[in-house]
Amino acid sequence: MARVVVDVMLKPEILDPQGQAVQGALARLGVAGVASVRQGKRFEIELEGEIDHQALDHIAATLLANTVIEDYAVHVAGA
């Protein structure tokens, strides 16, 4: 069974209020030196059978990410 990880991140030019909130909380915790925080999503997918890269791209681009505002990266675990 193949394991695939898809990371989805807001595009750099899109404001990330959640990341900003985390950064603000770190400052309140007394953590110094954090220049910025960006928050994203990680999907762990198990596939039956062989890896079909075209199908994975379809999954990521159609549902997992909104490519208007997000970038995605597909990683095959162990590869």
Partner: protein, 225 residues
């Protein structure tokens, strides 16, 4: 025969009943549509109401976009069916690519709930014909992810083609680019709006009755057609 206006209920829709009521206040027949049915029940127009469809899982509107009813709505919208998406409905329309851009978390990082002044920028759509260009209206606004974003080319095109339907006045509540509160597609039959005209149709419960114009507009549009 009166116009039949469908209101879709998704799991997690909140404002479907208010939208149905607004349809009736305007003088049309409200038809309940169910997300799981691939059936538009011969309606003349559709409202996608506010709420938190599918719990806003993944992204607001991202799961609803693939509901069986949405396949029908996307195809029918392409043939000219009037569709109004309010709040979560606007998010669903963007996720469906019926409208450009996307809606992201408010820049103020808080859910904002208040009465909001808007300026109607385009009174030529199927949903705004009963307003005047430049008319200022006051309707409720309530969203956590209402920040409208798109790339500069898209924003320039929307403005150049007069497709910004409504803009926030006085104070932008959520960081929407260029104060955009609502937009339309090229044909003018699909409109997405973040504030809630369906909550401003009766003086008992709304800050004004300014919102009823969206629903009388579609009625007028359908009677003419």
């Amino acid at each position: 025969m009166t116009a039949r206006i469908g209101v879709v209920t998704f799991p997690g829709s909140l404002d479907d009943r208010d939208a149905q009521r607004a349809v009736r206040v305007a003088g049309a027949e409200a038809v309940a549509l169910w997300h799981g049915d691939a059936d538009l029940r011969d309606v003349d127009a559709v409202v996608l109401p506010g709420g938190f469809s599918y719990g806003d899982y993944l992204r607001c509107g991202a799961i609803a976009r693939f509901a069986p009813i949405m396949n029908e709505i996307i195809a029918a919208a392409g043939r000219g069916l009037p569709v109004l998406g309010i709040c979560n409905g606007f998010q669903i329309l963007c996720e469906s690519h019926l409208l450009p851009g996307a809606l992201i978390r408010n820049d103020v990082r808080r859910f904002v709930c208040r009465d909001q002044w808007l300026r109607i920028e385009n009174a030529r759509t199927a949903w705004t014909s009963q307003y005047d260009d430049g008319q200022e209206i006051l309707v409720p606004l309530k969203n956590g992810e209402g920040g409208y974003v798109a790339d500069d080319d898209t924003l320039d095109r929307l403005e150049g083609e007069g497709r910004v339907v409504a803009r926030y006045l006085h104070d932008n509540p959520n960081g929407s680019y260029r104060d955009i509160a609502g937009i339309t597609n090229e044909a003018g039959n699909v409109v997405g709006l973040m504030p809630h005209p369906e909550h401003a149709v009766e003086s008992l419960t709304g800050p004004t009755t300014d919102g009823v114009g969206f629903f009388t507009s579609i009625l007028a549009d359908l009677v003419e057609a």
